[in-house]
Subunit: 114 residues, 2 copies
């Protein structure tokens, strides 16, 4: 998607603070972090939201969780714990319509999650 901010990150047209990258995903620091660790993990494939994902996207979405785990290990929050969050639509405050997993950790996270 030519106008999608996160696709521009994937294409390296706009710089971002990358913390992890592989063939199918990119992870970078949230610009407005809400925890000591707050990273966004996105598929390189443009999928606007969970609302429009197909069964073909399941593996790449599951891979975001696997990448989050690897980042949690690197950030040393795997044992203290972390939360992974997908927002879809207005009630969840989704602001960029390219699926992203929020990985938060490094502090106790309250319940409910919003």
């Amino acid at each position: 998607m030519s106008d999608c901010l996160f696709c521009k990150f994937v294409r390296k047209e706009i710089p971002t603070r990358v913390v992890f990258e592989d063939d199918s995903c990119l992870a970078f620091e949230d610009i407005n972090p809400k925890a000591p660790v707050h990273v966004l993990v996105i598929p390189k494939k443009h999928v606007a939201s969970i609302n429009v994902m197909t069964m073909e996207d399941e593996a790449v979405l599951g891979h975001l969780a696997f990448a989050a785990r690897q980042i949690a290990l690197e950030k040393k929050i795997d044992q203290s714990g972390y939360r992974a969050v997908f927002n879809t639509g207005p009630d969840a405050g989704q602001s960029v319509f390219h699926i992203h997993l929020h990985l938060l950790g490094g502090r106790p996270l309250a319940w409910p999650p919003g």
Copy 2:
């Protein structure tokens, strides 16, 4: 896992309020709901947490998001929006060590997510 509560739900040894089921996942109402819609979506395969998932589990984890989308459609929160949350470890308050996606919707969800 013989002693896992969620595995007992999968095997129907303990009744729960099922809202969705297919070959690889089960979804049921959270017993302590934090939103008008609060459903847990779990893989039928026992995986304790994202910390111990393998790449083989990626498709089944991604399928939880696809199932959440179908439940959001049925619950009529797909357009208003919803949040999908995985908790891992103590800082996130993970209480049952069988991976579960919390699907919350039906009200505005604050930020940060905990």
